[in-house]
Amino acid sequence: MISTKMLSSVTFLYLLCTVLYFNYLAFRSERLGKIAGGLSWITLLLHTAAILLRWVESYQLGIGHAPLSNMYESLVFFSWCIAVLYLLWEWKLNSRILGAFAMPFAFLFIAYASLAPGVSDRIDPLIPALQSNWLHAHVITCFLSYASFALSCGISILYLLKLRQKEKGQKEASLPALFPPLDSLDALIYKTIAVGFPLLTIGIVTGAAWANYAWGSYWSWDPKETWSLITWFVYAIFLHARFAREWRGKCTAALSIIGFAAVIFTYFGVNYVLSGLHSYA
């Protein structure tokens, strides 16, 4: 399929973007930054086109459905969400600092989709449980929230690197010195989570509403549901910990990283380690 081939080249392009953003950080060259930004937009455009093409291809196979129905498609969409959110952020704040911490996520997830042995890129018809309009609302909100959390995780890594450099009293010339001040990073972590948390909640609620139609119960403590709730708890802890002065900063940055680890486990771990009703992706 053409879309699959396109997505393979998109994977390669994301790697290139990642390398460029790292070089931009290391050499502080505005030109490199502009090239990285421009290439990212082109990559995103191709990525979008490939997703739309896959949609069209599914109709040509006579089983038309939105490309959001299995592990492969969700990984491709997850990567797309990260790229979109990051580029919007870059455009709005006119800063490319985070590129080196966001693009690797976009690259890793789409690379996993193409390379992991257990992930099939075939377009399969929808099984009865997935034949629902809730599919779109549920998958889109969940992955937008995951992408937002991926960004906050990236910024938290930046924050902790910068904090370590400051605590150690390293030279101004070292890499973390280039990062925005700690306060603005902290504010950015909060902002990305303030977007991700309501989206995650909508994702859980639409999932519950769907489960109520498909399985006859809005909440069955299925491992996927429970892990999404655990993730929700971690970010709720983050939001409350920010009120306490002694927890704000290092602790909340760590929480945002733990939160993203919970996201990853909800997404992959539950499928590979635990079993349950939610076995599609």
């Binding site: 009865p128 519950a208 403590w221 429970t226």
Partner: protein, 465 residues
């Protein structure tokens, strides 16, 4: 115990109940223990646990409630404590937030003017009283309608926006309680059960999931027909049960249900959940004569002796198993051949190759089974579900207010000094400071422009004869 000490006890209890530390501790506990419930299978059969755990481990887990953890007393206790903590924290904070509604700060003290981080200063031609209307209108159109106070020739304008975002957090906290209340209503007044109905049959009760008891529905439900269709790849495409609700023997509704499309009647919902073959009425067999290598197809009925055409042999389908030891549908065939003792053999729909190994003259394979299906329905009643949805909606509204709106306040002080107006603007926003700074900039521009423009216009009109 003296009265004073008693009060001390209650107030310290209140303090710990309404503390942020308790909130965070409880959230951590709930998050961590929830993990156990995803690792240890919940509500499984004892045999299943004993396959994985030692008997002693199994007993300990059972006593501690880890086998139905999310309904265990201690888990519910933590949820209840979180609810109490939520109420206590909200009440404590609400007193502070309410001041923004009951006693809005309409003018700033002199000391506040000096320390407020966001402020601008300008001076303008003409005394403030002359252009007061313009100042007011400018602030109204650039921000929101101000309240004007006059204090010894000094004018104070106060305007605010998004006051209600201060209440967002209470909406969220309340919504958690509403959702939990909905879950409680569901667990006390609802039920969750299963019913397997064979085509053509009906039932007026379901088997409850938790205790295995029967629950009367108050009406009957009949399965008229079950249909399953497959994609060319073999994956299931659709399961469909045609259900008829009967009350007092009278038909009320006939409606098909599919996965994702349940039927609800009198608050009880029926969901398509599984299916299977209950019995087989007719079978078409292919019978190969090993002597002549000819194959013929023979329709047969269960339990009836069927002659094999053109021979003196016969067979009988004695038994059907929908799934013979994981090998799929199978029939027990008794074959009668002349001069041989009758033979007992199993034939498999999904494994025709096994028939070749059978001794005897005839080789039986299954061509087609006309089964009578049963449909597995999930039957639930949950009067609390709409309460849960109201809670979810409240939570969304709360999130919107909390994360996307902010309480912004603008104070303007107009003082006259030597025939000129000294204008001071101060602003405060409890969220998104940098965004508000830009807004203050715009408000300042509007407050400068409007009175100036109005003055120019009036001067021009005076110039005209």
């Amino acid at each position: 115990m003296s009265k004073k000490e008693e009060k001390g006890f209650f107030s310290s209890l209140w303090d710990s109940l309404s503390s942020l530390r308790l909130t965070i501790a409880l959230l951590i506990i709930l998050a961590v223990v929830s993990i156990f419930g995803t690792v240890i299978p919940q509500n499984a059969a004892p045999e299943e646990y004993l396959r994985v755990y030692k008997t002693s481990t199994y007993k300990i887990l059972k006593i501690l409630g880890f086998l139905d953890m999310y309904h265990a007393g201690w888990f519910v206790f933590f949820l209840a404590l979180l609810s109490l903590n939520l109420v206590a924290c909200s009440l404590k904070r609400l007193r502070i937030s309410w001041r923004f509604f009951s006693h809005p700060e309409e003018s700033l003290e002199e000391a506040q003017w000096k320390t407020i981080p966001l402020s601008r200063k300008f001076s303008q031609k003409g005394p403030p009283a002359a252009s007061l209307r313009q100042y007011r209108e400018a602030l109204t159109s650039a921000f929101s309608k101000p309240k004007v106070l006059e204090d010894h020739q000094v004018y104070h304008l106060f305007a605010e926006k998004g006051k209600f975002s201060r209440l967002g957090v209470y909406f969220i906290h309340l919504s958690v309680l509403v959702i939990l209340a909905g879950a409680l209503i569901g667990s006390f007044l609802g039920f969750r059960g299963n019913a397997n109905i064979v085509e053509g049959q009906s039932t007026d009760r379901v088997i409850l999931r938790s205790q295995g008891q029967a629950q009367a529905l108050g009406f009957s439900v009949r399965l008229d027909k079950f249909n399953v269709s497959f994609y060319p790849s073999g994956a299931p495409q659709e399961f469909k049960s045609l259900l008829t609700i009967l009350e007092g023997g009278r038909k009320v509704i006939t409606e098909p249900i599919r996965v994702n499309h349940p039927l609800t009647y009198k608050g009880i919902s029926f969901y398509q959940s599984s299916y299977g073959i209950a019995s087989v009425e007719k079978v078409v067999l292919a019978i190969k004569d090993r002597d002549s290598q000819k194959e013929i197809t023979v329709p047969a009925q269960m339990g009836t002796r069927t002659e094999i055409p053109g021979s003196s042999s016969a067979f009988l389908l004695a038994q059907f198993l929908p799934d013979f030891q994981g090998m799929g549908p199978a029939f027990q065939v008794i074959s009668f051949e002349p001069n041989r003792p009758h033979e007992n053999l199993w034939i498999f729909q999904n494994h025709p190759e096994l028939a070749e190994k059978r001794p005897g003259r005839y080789q039986f394979t299954i061509k087609k089974i006309e089964p009578r299906y049963y449909s597995g329905l999930q039957v639930t009643k949950d009067p609390g579900v709409w309460v849960v949805w109201v809670g979810c909606f409240l939570m969304m509204a709360g999130f919107y207010m909390t994360f996307f709106l902010s309480h912004r306040r603008v104070w303007v002080r107009l003082t006259e000094k030597g025939g000129r107006t000294w204008m001071e603007i101060a602003g405060s926003s409890h969220r998104d400071r940098s965004g508000f700074e830009k807004e203050i900039e715009k408000i300042g521009q509007a407050l400068k422009e409007k009175p100036r423009k109005a003055r120019k216009e009036s001067e021009e009109s005076e110039d005209q004869p």
